[in-house]
């Protein structure tokens, strides 16, 4: 394709956008809203995933020992744990240490423990750290088989709940996104239909003088792509701005929440949104061209 022809296509597409001002505006707005919501869901899902992974990587296994083990027996369990593949750190927490920690955590409500009297129901335990998160489960299961071990627990439930939440958000988001993408597709295809209709005479003449189908299609395709890209650009700008503010707020008040830093995270999402917008625009055009322009 010659550069001059490309110039002609772009000029024609821009001219159409201007001529259908109101419809163009409606298309861009719909795409912008749809993609903004898509962007928000992406941000949410990825952040939840990130949080779950962060928690998972910090996981340590608590190994509770049976009551009544001798010091030698307990030391033996400790040695066996240390020898397990992947184990990097083993700390012994005695019944007394555990109670001390528990009291600290209760703070002013320590009086609740008075009911126990002198009894300490907490078991002796080991805190075990492993090198890789995917080893947590196997190591925990292996330790449970050891003589003298009552139980081995890690933050499995919390993590699993977080992943379940991510999955739910993902499914819910997908439904909304599909619905909104269809709406955007519909409105872009309508805008292009109006353009095709307004220019049917021109299209007819182009066909009579021997323009190829693609020569006729290109300006309309470009128009759709520009609508999609324009909408995506608005969504990207808004998302970038709001995520910046969100990050700032979270760092100030909820610093422990492991949010993904703004860059390059938002840049990557922006690329996804811009490509999606442009593709939606091109698809919308194609639908109209196939239905309303017999070329």
């Amino acid at each position: 394709m010659k550069i001059r022809t490309m110039e002609y296509f772009i000029k024609e597409a821009l001219y159409s956008l201007k001529r259908n001002g109101l419809m163009s505006f409606a298309s861009v707005t719909t795409v912008a809203l749809s993609l903004l919501i898509l962007g928000m869901f992406l941000v949410m899902v990825l952040n939840l995933n990130n949080m779950a992974s962060a928690l998972e990587s910090q996981v340590q296994i608590s190994v509770y020992l049976q009551d009544g083990l001798s010091d030698v027996e307990m030391r033996e369990v400790g040695t066996r744990i240390t020898k397990l593949p992947g184990v990097v750190q083993v700390n012994f927490i005695s019944k007394e240490d555990a109670m001390k920690r528990f009291k600290e955590r209760l703070g002013e409500q320590q009086s609740l423990l008075n009911a126990l009297g002198e009894a300490n129901p907490l078991p002796n335990a080991f805190e075990v750290k492993v090198d890789r998160t995917d080893r947590v489960k196997t190591v925990a299961q292996a330790m449970m088989q050891f003589k003298g071990v009552e139980n081995a627990k890690y933050g499995q439930e919390v993590i699993e709940q977080l992943f379940a939440l991510t999955k739910m958000v993902r499914i819910f988001g997908l439904v909304i996104i599909v619905f909104l993408a269809l709406a955007a597709l519909f409105i872009i295809s309508n805008t292009i239909r109006i353009t095709v209709f307004a220019r049917r005479k021109e299209i007819g003449i182009m066909k009579y003088v021997g323009a190829t189908d693609w020569f006729i299609r290109w300006p309309f395709l470009l128009e759709g792509m520009m609508l999609g890209f324009g909408g995506a650009l608005l969504a990207v700008l808004f998302l970038n701005e709001t995520y910046g503010v969100l990050i700032h707020q979270v760092y100030e008040s909820l610093a422990f929440l492991p949010l993904i830093p703004q860059y390059p995270f938002i840049t990557n999402i922006s690329v996804v949104l811009l490509v999606t917008g442009t593709v939606i625009g091109a698809l919308g055009s194609t639908i109209s061209l196939r239905r309303f322009m017999k070329v």
């Binding site: 001059r4 066909k207 003088v209 021997g210 190829t212 020569f215």
Partner: protein, 228 residues
């Protein structure tokens, strides 16, 4: 140049527009296609530039078998044809110059080529000075001359005209016919469907008369032969 061999056209609603037409139009011919309204003249014209497809028979235009032409090849057939309509079909938002240049633009001619050819054909139809005007600023005759300029700008081997003088007064019609004659003298084949008795009778060109979807007459130096 144009060869029809037993060509029939039956529309989807069962209407028979053309029936078993066999005719040969050699290069450089000037042919009037005449006949009563609804006889099949327009269908005859439309078949040539493949606006319609023949239902039966073989139709060759400029060496291409139109009936078997792949849709993607149709533009290339039409690049060798110039088409002129009764209602001019100019683009109102483009100037005279742009309307003519448009035909070259869509086949991706170079800017220099476009400038040279458009000026030449506007000279030929005597409207170079109106290049910057818009179609609605021109008379009917002038608009038709622009349409002719657009039809011939790509050097077609055949110019097809469907009632080109249908909307024009007799004097203007003669201006138009003189242009067609000039184009024909340069070797371009002209096929023109018309109702203009005066023109047909005076020009003494080949006349193909279509009646009730069949060829009723094919005369070398024919006359119109109808009272309308």
């Amino acid at each position: 140049m144009i060869h029809l061999d037993g060509v029939s056209k039956i529309y989807d609603n069962g209407c028979v527009a053309l029936s078993d037409i066999t005719v040969d139009i050699p290069k450089g011919d000037f042919v009037f296609v005449v006949g009563p309204s609804g006889a099949g003249k327009s269908t005859f014209i439309k078949l040539i530039f493949r606006e319609e497809l023949p239902t039966k028979g073989k139709l060759i235009v400029n060496g291409r078998n139109v009936g078997e032409l792949d849709p993607s090849e149709v533009p290339y057939l039409r690049r060798n044809l110039g088409i002129v309509f009764q209602d001019y079909r100019l683009l109102p938002n483009k100037t005279v110059y742009e309307n003519v240049a448009f035909a070259m633009q869509v086949i991706e001619s170079s800017r220099r080529e476009i400038q040279k050819r458009v000026s030449h054909v506007l000279d030929l139809v005597g409207l170079r000075h109106k290049g910057k005007n818009f179609p609605n600023e021109l008379s009917g005759g002038e608009q038709q001359r622009i349409a002719i300029a657009r039809a011939i700008v790509n050097n077609p081997v055949v110019v097809i005209a469907d009632e080109p003088t249908g909307n024009l007064d007799p004097e203007t019609s003669w201006d138009i016919m003189r242009i067609f004659e000039h184009i024909n003298k340069d070797g371009t084949t002209i096929v023109m469907a018309t109702h203009d008795k005066t023109v047909v009778d005076a020009m003494k060109k080949r006349v193909i008369a279509i009646e009730k979807s069949r060829i009723a007459r094919d005369q070398v130096r024919g006359v119109y032969g109808y009272e309308d």
